[in-house]
């Protein structure tokens, strides 16, 4: 699981530069403007490519924070490669 979290942190760090790891794991829609529609789409694209998963567009609105992504990916067996 730490490996998953590290990879996910790298994904988020590429979209949200300048944030510390601690800030990234707390990141979500309430992150004072950093999380907007463009960054949400970009995070989804990066995560899909990096974890080789296809996120259902219907699920996407629920993935509104680092922690939601972590939970989503930990449920997806293909990410534990």
């Amino acid at each position: 699981m730490p490996q998953l979290e590290d990879r996910l942190i790298r994904c988020f760090a590429s979209v949200f530069p300048g944030y510390t790891q601690e800030e990234i794991v707390e990141m979500g829609e309430n992150s004072h403007g950093a999380w907007d529609s463009l960054s949400a789409v970009t995070v989804a694209a990066v995560v899909q490519e990096e974890f080789n998963v296809e996120i259902d567009p219907a699920v996407l609105p629920q993935l509104d924070s680092f922690q939601m992504y972590r939970k989503y990916l930990s449920r997806t067996s293909s990410t534990l490669e």
């Binding site: 590429s14 970009t42 694209a45 990096e50």
Partner: protein
Amino acid sequence: MKLIEALETLRCPVADAAPEFNVSLACGISPLHLQTFLAAELRKRLPENRVVVRPGFYGDLLGNIQRLNASAMNSLALVIEWADFDPRLGIRTLAGWRPMELPNIVESATQMAGRLQNAIREIAQFLPVIVCLPTLPLPPMFSTKRAHAGQCESQLLYLAASLANDLARVPGVRLLSVQTLADISPFSCRYDIKSELATGFPYTLSHASAIGDLLSRLIAESSPKKGLITDLDDTLWAGVLGEDGVDGISWELDRHTQMHGVFQHFLSSLAGAGVLVGVASKNDPANVERAFERSDLYLTKNDIYPLEVHWSPKSNSVRRILETWNVSADSVVFVDDSSMELAEVKAVFPELECMLFPRGDDQAIWQFLRNLRDLFGKSVVTEDDALRLRSIRDADAWRAMAQSPAASLDEFLKAAEAVITFEPVLADASAREFELINKTNQFNLNGRRLIQSEWRALFNDPDAFVLSVSYKDKFGPLGKVMVVAGKAKGQSLILDSWVLSCRAFSRRIEHRCLSYLFETFSANQVTFEFSPTPKNAPVQELLTQILGRPPEPGATLTREQFETKVPPLFQRVEGKIHAST
């Protein structure tokens, strides 16, 4: 490139003083990750610049072109998809695909193609335009089966091909190659329908990455190589001349050696485009002489200069060829079928591109030729390119004379009956001059390279002048060999760019140019925007000679100083046209 790599590339810091390189990305789709990939690829290619990619408005391709402020941009990347011709060719607008409506779709698409073409022609006068024509499949809107291209489908494909044909002829427009794109992005792996519906971005990440890569290659083109040195045995032809004899070497279908003939064809094409082709071979010179007498050889001796044929190490041959061509090793490719020979040459010339000719593997030779195309390809082949090889041959005689005592050099120059023509450069017909400015290393005032927008801006400055200088003598023409650009302020001239092709050294063309400038502009001084570079020793030597001291940036030469230092000039000057005309 993966998206995360692109994003991380863009996060790398850029020096505060780095000049901006602005690219407008005009497309009808949402630019989203394409913008990211394009910016990242450009960052890799232009590490000294602060790359900024600016997208336009979603769904308004034509408006994005028409609203563009060309003076603020270095380049325009234009990505067209089918729905930009008519929204009914996409899936986000549902307005009917009934067979009776298809002719109307074709008609409106044709009209839009015409409007786009006009807008591109207009903007291409001011900045380079890179065009990517539709890359995605047409929607399933036709009444025929997928395997059957019916009339309307064919008309739409013809429309795109016709637009490509027209745009390819517009100066300043470069088309992205659909064949190269297909190499790196298979047709069936391009369309992301979920993404298109969710965000208006229709490309898979791999396809967006491929388009970003190719667009960046066309926006920030690398300088083409200038020369190719090839081996003979088992490279230019199949077989070993010393063992198989003149009649035993081959390049033909019947003997399964056709790809050597294809290589000859390729080299002949390069020579026609002005690439220098030389030979470095360990062989008996007399045998090689006889081999080149074979009439079925596709590459003739006229296409090659020089031929270094002997038993010395190949690095010696390469050195002599580089000296004859007067070009640096990093602008030359050496081809040989022997890894050992390549290693020997590479050890002496690490900057030289050394490529193994994959003899016996036809598929690999095919790929090898494609790689060579990328190394030598250039946007425009000019008339001057065809003169290059001959003038290099003549240059040997000139070089020998240049090392003679002054008196005999004067006699030689006088007897050459040289004619120098000065012409103002026109913005729309300046491909050769632009190329000279950007590829000349040795006689180059400051090594400064210009991008298209900077080049075109020169022509809009009322104080600026841009002159091209052509040279010919009784031995033949050298074509356009010099470009000088600067500003005239009262009786002072400031030279910003000054380049002279190395083919034209030792003819005192540079002295004649200064003489012409002093006279034509009634100037009493010339200031040189000089900067030393690792390669511009020839210009440093000239300035040292006429200034009487090593040059510094901003060095000024008075007319009086020049007249005391200028050697005798024997050229006749033609085309005395003042720059302001």
